[in-house]
Amino acid sequence: MQKILIIGATSAIAEACAKRFAAQGHSLYLLARNSSCLESLAQDLRVRGAAAVHCATFEANALETHQALLEQVKTELNGLDRVLIAHGTLSDQQACEQSVELTLQELQTNALSVIALLTRLANHFEQQRHGSIAVIGSVAGDRGRQSNYIYGTAKGALSIFLQGLRNRLHKSGVQVLTIKPGFVDTPMTAAFPKGPLWATPEKVAHDIDKAIEKNKDVLYTPGFWMLIMLIIKSVPERLFKRLSL
């Protein structure tokens, strides 16, 4: 049985992961902004077979509250073997272009708050010398594109932070997994028309579960995104800047 912390637990991907972890009989600690959703999810996970489910509300950008909350998690779970960080917002690119405040706000939520959490969590895992840190990034972080580069900037920054952290924690035997989902059919993307490239949160959760099990470093999910991003990353900038992507 693993003791698992899930941050942003009511996001669709995190919820699908939590359901898998519950069925495997692990102990879970859920953090999310909305307390009413959280309680009904916790109850669902208990029915699914979780050894224990705790939950608390959490404000990603209230950085000063993080330390106490993480201590509480470790105490109540009686340890911490795995963390999944899944909170975030899908930035409105056009609105960001007109507002410095909004742009910084998006970077704060999607990058800085995660980096703040990881900074604290890294020390716990480094000392403990085992465990897994899994963070949801995005294929959008692989290359800046005009349609969503604010979101992409945050996810890209996260990706580089995680590379460094992985390098640092490798000698302590701690897994650092960067998860790069492509298009996922979630409430966050409800407004987009869906095509064949879209995946379900359940599929993504399945891939995440397997990647943790196999001690992977970077996960593109579904797997074909690795190929798509390989192509997108290899287009020369002289040409890329002319494309409307």
Partner: protein, 433 residues
């Protein structure tokens, strides 16, 4: 958004709203004029189509489970697939299950679906202890066979027209194995097939695949499959990779010759008059679920599934006459299913009645709708009826003649304020305004 049922006919431009909580659903209900709940969209025709659809996909939480009694409470949007994933490894199964697990619990109740054990155990509503319904004014009402029984019997099989089913209390079935002991019998014609059903009427599960293009001596040749839950204690199935139909197949691929050839192979593949296999519950109950989006096989135009039941009294003679008409039309499908039903229940619009049912897929093409109208009149002449969850085209007159309870159904809807608030393209077509 262009929306359709599993048959991909008809298409309708609908607004699909996806609330995440009952509270959100309540707020939406107040804003919209007429709405309809929609689960997994697996009914075939237009019964889950309307201008404004409230999707229950995200109302899918489990609430409680009692390991002693097997009583489960959950939100109604959860799929049978998900329930099986959670409960089969723990030794529980659905007492009643349709031929696909990709339906929501709410949808299963609204269509009062049946399974291969209908002749013994009845429709899905038999395992429903109670349900929670959101009425037109947004209020929640719990109904069961004891509380508001008239609303319960109108809602089970009521195609979502009484309100939005939000939560359910179900009774699960204890199993010792995820496998089914299956025996297949060969029937050379319809007479033999119906005889076999009679002989095996005490088997828990029974269903027949029927070759609807066979003629003359071989008319109605079938493979009858009966099954019992195995008792060997193995509850976990090995993981399986799902196949998928990636795009619309050219409709011309399915024609009388290709279907005839398929049917011949499928029938002759079984050599012995009787053979026994051990198969997973997935293979036994949900053979088509292994092929995602199999509805694309019928091409871009879509298809209609036609399922009727005729009373036992009409029996062999009625079934033979209808099969002869279908066989003569050369419009057969390779997925044709024959089954005997047990007695009808007290739900006002439930489909099954004691007798024989036949379900066939027809590719949508010129002349089909005329043929189906002709079949309708044959079914009516035998005092039979059609399955609303499959229907996309029957006339108001056919419906009202074959479902005499429709007036009582309307009275109950009126009493609970559902008229004008919950409606589907189907309900409008059938004169249930």
């Amino acid at each position: 958004m262009l929306t359709h049922g599993w048959g991909r006919y008809p298409l309708h431009d609908a607004q699909l709203i996806q609330p995440h909580t009952t509270q959100e659903a309540f707020e939406l209900l107040g804003q919209e004029e007429a709405v309809l709940g929609r689960g997994m969209g697996r009914s075939y025709g237009d019964s889950a189509l309307a201008d404004t659809l409230i999707s229950t996909r995200h109302l899918n939480r489990l609430h409680s489970f009692d390991m002693q009694s097997g009583l489960l409470t959950c939100a109604a949007g959860i799929s049978l697939d998900e329930l099986l994933d959670v409960f089969v490894p723990r030794g529980w199964f659905l007492p009643i299950t349709p031929g696909t697990k990709f339906v929501s619990v709410g949808g299963a109740i609204a269509s009062d679906v049946h399974g291969k054990n209908h002749h013994l155990h009845g429709c899905f509503s038999e395992c429903v202890e109670s349900l929670e319904l959101m009425l037109a004014d947004g209020s929640l009402i719990r109904c069961s066979r004891r509380d508001h029984p008239e609303l319960f019997h109108a809602t089970c099989g009521g195609m979502g027209l009484t309100g939005l089913i939000v939560a359910v209390k179900l009774r699960l079935l204890r199993i010792e194995s995820a496998y089914i002991q299956q025996t297949t019998f060969k029937a050379a014609n319809l007479d033999e097939a119906l005889q076999l059903f009679e002989t095996h009427s005490t088997s828990t599960y029974s269903v027949a695949w029927i070759d609807c293009l066979a003629k003359g001596q071989a008319l109605g040749r079938s493979l009858l499959m009966v099954g019992e839950h195995a008792r060997d204690g193995q509850l976990l199935l090995p993981a399986k990779r799902a196949l998928s139909v990636p795009l619309d197949m050219p409709a011309a691929l399915l024609n009388r010759y290709s279907v005839q050839a398929f049917n011949e192979l499928y029938y002759q593949r079984i050599r012995k008059p009787e053979s026994t296999q051990r198969v997973s519950f997935e293979n036994f109950f949900y053979p088509l679920d292994g092929i995602q989006q199999w509805n694309r096989l019928y091409g871009k135009q879509g298809f209609v599934q036609y399922q009727f039941v005729i009373p036992k009294a009409a029996g062999l003679q009625g079934m033979r006459a209808i099969l002869e008409r279908i066989s003569a039309s050369h419009r057969g499908s390779f997925l044709a299913v024959l089954k005997t039903f047990g007695a009808a229940n007290d739900n006002l619009l439930s489909f099954p009645m004691e007798g024989y049912t036949l379900a066939l897929d027809f590719k949508l093409e010129a002349g089909l709708l005329e043929l189906l109208d002709e079949l309708d009149s044959m079914v009516l002449a035998y005092d039979g009826r059609l399955y609303l969850a499959k229907d996309a085209r029957m006339s108001e007159a056919t419906f009202k003649q074959s479902q005499p309870n429709w007036q009582q159904f309307q009275e109950i809807r009126a009493h609970y304020g559902a008229l004008g608030k919950f409606a589907s393209l189907q309900s409008r077509r059938l004169g249930l305004d």
